[in-house]
C-alpha cells in the first residue's frame, strides 16, 4: 500500500485558506468572520486568511501548513478554479500532498461579485460554500496522473502558406511530417494571388517555400489526397489518408488543421456577372494576365460581409482591395479608381501606410452607408455621399467587389471527423480567443491560417510557425501526462448495458466482449461525466466527483 492509499484511512485534517484577493473579496464580505467560521467546521484543523493566496507568500503558507499541520486535505476559498486550480493543486503536490486532495471554493465570483453591496449576504454565502467545499474535500481520494506514449509524427492538413510554414518549422525541429493537400498543387489561395501587399510576387514566395518543403527528407507530401478518418487521441492519433496511391494508414502524435478558406462568390450582389462586375480574385487573374481594358474602376468593399447573414469582417479584403487599386494605378495611371467602403480596415503599420500611399496615388475613397448601399446599374454606380449629402453617379466600366473569405464547404465534415467545433460563421473555433488562439479544445489538434479566420499571407505564415511550437511543446516531452479527473467504470458492478458508450461524446468508452463490460480510455476521457449520469448502477463514476463526494457537498448546503 503506498502513501496515497494510506490517506484514505486517516482522519481528514483539513486546512482552509480564505483569500482576501486584496479588496476584490475582502472589500465585499467579511473574510475574517468567514475564516473564524471555517474553524468550527468538522475536520478543519487549520485556517488562514491571506491577502493574496495566489501570491508566492500565499503559496508558501499553504506548503508550510501542509507540512507543519500535517494537513491531508486543502481547501482554498478564493477566485475561479478555471484560473487558479492548477496553481494551488500543484503547490499541494510540491508540499507532498496528492494534488487531487485539493478543493477550491469560489467566493469571489459567487459571493463578492454577485452580492456586491450586500455584505452580510455575501459573507453568509461564503460560509455556506466553504462548508460545502469542506464536506466534499473530506471525501476526496488521491489520484495518480495518467501517462501515455507519444508518436513523434505530425499530420498537417492543408498545403497552403499556413500548412507549409508549419511543416517547414516542424521539419526543422526534427519531427516527421505528413503534409496532405486536397488539390494537386501546394500553395492554397495564394496561388491565385498576383502580387503580395508587401511587394514581390506571390508565386516567388510560394515556390521558395514549396521547394524547401519538398526537399525535406522528413516531410512526406501527399497531393490530391484527403484525410478520411482520424481516431485515437493526443500522442496516438490513428489516421487514414486516401492518396493517389491508395489508402494509407498511420499513427501521428499531433494534427494541424490548415485547411484554409475560400473567397465568397458574390452571386446576386451588386449585379455581379463576372464580366463588368467581378470579384477581387477575378481582378487578380486579370492583373496576372495583364488583361485590363477598363478606364474607370469602382471597388465596393464589404460585398457580402458585415451583413446579417455574414456578420464578421473578413479582415483582409480592404488590404487586398487597396493593394490591387494601387497596382492598377501604377500600371495604368490613367485609369480612374474609386473605393467605396464602410470602414477602411487597414490596421497596423504597413497597411495604414498603403492607405496613405493609395491616396497619394490619386485613388479616391468614399464612405457608404450599409443601410443605403451603392447601386450598380449598366455602366453606373450611384451612392449617397454623406459628406456632401448628395447622391453621386459614377460612370464606370468595371466594378470590383471585395468579398470576404468564407469557410470551405467541407469544413463541417472536417470538423465532424476531428470532433472539433466551429464558430457561428463556420470557421474553426479555437480553445480561447485570446490566450490559446492556435489550439483546439481537443488536445493534440491545432489550427492555423484562414480556416481559423481570414489572415494575410504574413499572418498565416506566422500562425503556421506558431502551431509548430505548440506541437513541439507536446512532442518533445518523454511522455504524455494527463489529469486524473477521468471517469472510471467499476468492472465488478458494470453489467455492460452500453448506455454510457452511446453517451460518450469523445468516444472514450469501448465494450469489452470477453468481460462483457464497458471500459474507458483514460487518455480520451475529458471528464465530462455523461457516462456517470447515465449509468443505472453507479458503475461509471467520475474521479473527484463521485456521488458520495457530491452528495456530501449537497448535504452540507
Amino acid at each position: 500500500m503506498n502513501m496515497n492509499d494510506l490517506i484514505l484511512y486517516e482522519e481528514p485534517r483539513i486546512g482552509v485558506f480564505v483569500c482576501d484577493c486584496g479588496s476584490n473579496i475582502a472589500g465585499h464580505l467579511d473574510c475574517a468572520d468567514v475564516a473564524e467560521y471555517a474553524k468550527t467546521l468538522p475536520n478543519v484543523v487549520y485556517v488562514k486568511e491571506n491577502l493574496y493566496t495566489c501570491s508566492e507568500a500565499g503559496i508558501v503558507e499553504i506548503k508550510k501548513a501542509i507540512k507543519g499541520q500535517n494537513l491531508n486535505r486543502v481547501v482554498v476559498a478564493s477566485c475561479s478554479p478555471r484560473t487558479h486550480q492548477p496553481l494551488f493543486s500543484s503547490s499541494c503536490a510540491e508540499a507532498g500532498l496528492n494534488p487531487y486532495l485539493f478543493e477550491m471554493v469560489n467566493i469571489r465570483d459567487q459571493c463578492s461579485w454577485v452580492h456586491m453591496g450586500k455584505r452580510d449576504d455575501a459573507t453568509q454565502k461564503a460560509k455556506e460554500l466553504i462548508r460545502m467545499g469542506v464536506a466534499k474535500s473530506a471525501g476526496l481520494e488521491p489520484q495518480e496522473e495518467i501517462e501515455s506514449s507519444l508518436v513523434r509524427k505530425v499530420l498537417v492538413m492543408g498545403g497552403g502558406i499556413a500548412g507549409l510554414s508549419a511543416a517547414q518549422a516542424l521539419a526543422d525541429m526534427g519531427l516527421d511530417i505528413m503534409l496532405v493537400e486536397k488539390t494537386s498543387n501546394f500553395g492554397g489561395l495564394l496561388q491565385q494571388v498576383h502580387q503580395l501587399d508587401t511587394g514581390g510576387s506571390a508565386r516567388a514566395l510560394l515556390s521558395k517555400i514549396i521547394d524547401d518543403v519538398q526537399s525535406r527528407s522528413n516531410i512526406t507530401c501527399y497531393t490530391k489526397a484527403i484525410v478520411k478518418e482520424t481516431g485515437g487521441y493526443i500522442g496516438n492519433f490513428e489516421i487514414k489518408i486516401d492518396t493517389q496511391n491508395g489508402l494509407i494508414k498511420d499513427k501521428v502524435g499531433c494534427i494541424v488543421v490548415a485547411t484554409g478558406a475560400v473567397p465568397l462568390i458574390p452571386k446576386g450582389l451588386f449585379g455581379y456577372d463576372g464580366e463588368t462586375v467581378i470579384s477581387l480574385m477575378e481582378l487578380e487573374q486579370k492583373l496576372k494576365k495583364d488583361d485590363l481594358t477598363a478606364r474607370r474602376i469602382v471597388f465596393i468593399q464589404c460585398a457580402g460581409a458585415r451583413t446579417k447573414e455574414r456578420e464578421y469582417c473578413s479582415r483582409i479584403c480592404c488590404m487586398i482591395g487597396v493593394k490591387n487599386a494601387m497596382i492598377v494605378k501604377e500600371k495604368y495611371p490613367l485609369i480612374d479608381v474609386r473605393i467605396l467602403y464602410r470602414d477602411m480596415q487597414m490596421y497596423g503599420t504597413h497597411k495604414e501606410q498603403m492607405l496613405w500611399d493609395a491616396r497619394g496615388k490619386g485613388i479616391q475613397f468614399d464612405v457608404y452607408n450599409p443601410d443605403n448601399p451603392p447601386e450598380v446599374k449598366e455602366g453606373k454606380v450611384s451612392f449617397f455621399q454623406s459628406i456632401t449629402g448628395k447622391i453621386i453617379d459614377l460612370d464606370t466600366d468595371l466594378v470590383v467587389l471585395s468579398t470576404p473569405l468564407v469557410p470551405r464547404s467541407d469544413a463541417p465534415a472536417v470538423a465532424n471527423m476531428m470532433r472539433v467545433p466551429t464558430d457561428q460563421n463556420g470557421f474553426f473555433l479555437e480553445a480561447h480567443a485570446k490566450l490559446r488562439p492556435l489550439d483546439f479544445a481537443a488536445d493534440g489538434i491545432f489550427v492555423c491560417g484562414s480556416g481559423r479566420y481570414p489572415a494575410t499571407s504574413t499572418e498565416a505564415r506566422t500562425q503556421g510557425l506558431g502551431v509548430a511550437s505548440r506541437v513541439a511543446a507536446i512532442l518533445f516531452k518523454d511522455k504524455l501526462v494527463k489529469s486524473a479527473i477521468v471517469a472510471k467504470i467499476n468492472p465488478e458492478s458494470c453489467v455492460g448495458c452500453k448506455a454510457c458508450l452511446t453517451m460518450c461524446p469523445y468516444e472514450a468508452i469501448t465494450y469489452n466482449r470477453d468481460k462483457r463490460i464497458c471500459e474507458i480510455n483514460e487518455i480520451l476521457c475529458k471528464g465530462c461525466g455523461n457516462c456517470a449520469a447515465t449509468c443505472p448502477s453507479h458503475s461509471a463514476q467520475l474521479c473527484g466527483y463521485k456521488p458520495e463526494q457530491l452528495l456530501a457537498q449537497i448535504g452540507a448546503a
Binding site: 514581390g200 514566395l205 511550437s469
Partner: protein
Amino acid sequence: MLDVGRHPNITLLAYSELEKIEGEAGNFTAIIRRKARFVEEDKCTGCGACTEICPTSVLDLYNEGHAERKAIYSWFAQGIPSTHVIDPDHCRVLTGKKCGICQKKCEADAINFDQKESILELLVGAVIVATGYDVFDPAKLPEYRYTQLDNVITAMEFERFLSASGPTEGHIYRPSDRKVTAQIAVFEKKVKKSQKALDRFEKNHGQDSVEFYSAYKAGSLNANDDLEKDQDKWAKKYEAHLENATPLEALKEKAKGFTSAKNLAFIQCVGSRDLRFYPFCYGYCCMHSIKEAIIAHEHDNDTHSVIFGMDIRAVGKGFEVYKVRGGNNSNISYKRSRVAEITKNTDESPVLIYEDTLEQKVKRETFDLVVLATACEPVKSTQKIADTLSIDVDAYGFFKTQPADPLDTSREGIFVCGCAHSPMDIPESVAQASSAAARAVQAIMKKNNKKAS
C-alpha cells in the same frame, strides 16, 4: 504569468537589462545587468509588510498616477515574481536620510540596502525580443488639452478606473471631482486641528467662538483678566480656522452635486493615423474603447458612450459582432469624425467640437469624461536595444522583419514578436509569440545539427 513563473525550464530575470550580446545564432553569450533591488530575491516572500509600514509615499505609475504607492513596493499586486523592490530615488535610506523601518519589520530578513547591481553571463542559442510598446503622450496634441483638462484622460487611465483594484475601485469618478474630494480631506484635517484649539478656548472661557469673535471685532468684548490674556490669540486662531473652514464649506457644497461619469466620449486615433506623430494604425484601440465602454455600461446601466473614430476597425475574430452588440446592448454610439478640439464648461465638463460628417454640421457636445485612445509607440529605448543586439529598426520605429520571415530580425538567431514587432492585439501577439518560440527552436536545432554533422 503564473505558469511562466512556475515552469521548470524558465528562469525569470526581472529588473534586469541586456548589456551586450556576442557570438552567433545557436551560440550567443548574453551579458545581463541585474539591477539592485535592495531586496534579496531568495528571501522575500512578497508578504507586503514592508510596504504597509514604509513612511514614504510616491505617485503610483501603475495606476497612472491616480493613486499612491510606497518607496518599497511591487509594481502591482499579483506581479511575478512577487519580490518587492526599493525605489532608490525616494527611499529615505537610499537618499541619505534616516529610516530603515522596513528592514526592522521584515521577518524574512530580505532587505539589503547595500545590494549592488550584478552582471550575469548567459549562454543562449537564440534571442526573442518582446519589449512591447510605450503609450503615446497625448499632451503633445495641443487641441485635446490633456493635463490641462482634468476630465480628459487616457484609455490606460480609464482602464485603471474601471478596475476593481484600481484607484476608484471600479467606480468612474471624474478626476476633477476626485481633486475636490482630496481637497476636502486636506481642509477637513486642518479644520479638525484648529477646531481643537478653539475648543480649548471655548471651554476655558465658557463662550462660543463665533460670539466671541463678533464681540471682539465690534470691540464690545466684556473681558475679564483671563480672557484679556487670551483674546488676541483666540481671535487669530479663529481667523486661521475660518481660512480653512470657509472654503471647506464651499467645496462640500460643490461636492454634493458629484455623481459618477455617465456620459463618456472616446476619441480614437490620438497620435496615430496622424502625420504629425505616427502615421500608422495600432490596430487594437477601437476594440479597446468598445470594451471599456461596454464595461462602463455593465458597471452602471445609465452610462452612455460615444466613440469618435475615422473608421471603427473591428477586424479580428468575433470583433464585428462584439462591436454591433456594444451598440445594441451597451448604449454605445459610433460617430465617424475626428474631434477638432476639446474645451470645458463651468463644471469642468469637457466639451467636444467636431464635425458630424453624416449631418455635415459642426457640433459642440458636452460629456462628463473624455477618454483618449492613445497611440502605441515604439519603446523609447528601441534604438538602444537595436544597437545592443545589432539589429535593424524599420521606418516606423519598430524592429525590422521581412514579410516572408515575419519573426526574424536582421540578425540570425534573434527574433521579435508582439508590439515590439508592430502594433497588434492580444490573439495576434500570442500567436506570434508561439511562432517566435518555434523560430528560436529551429535556429538552435539547426545549429546543433550542423555541429553534429
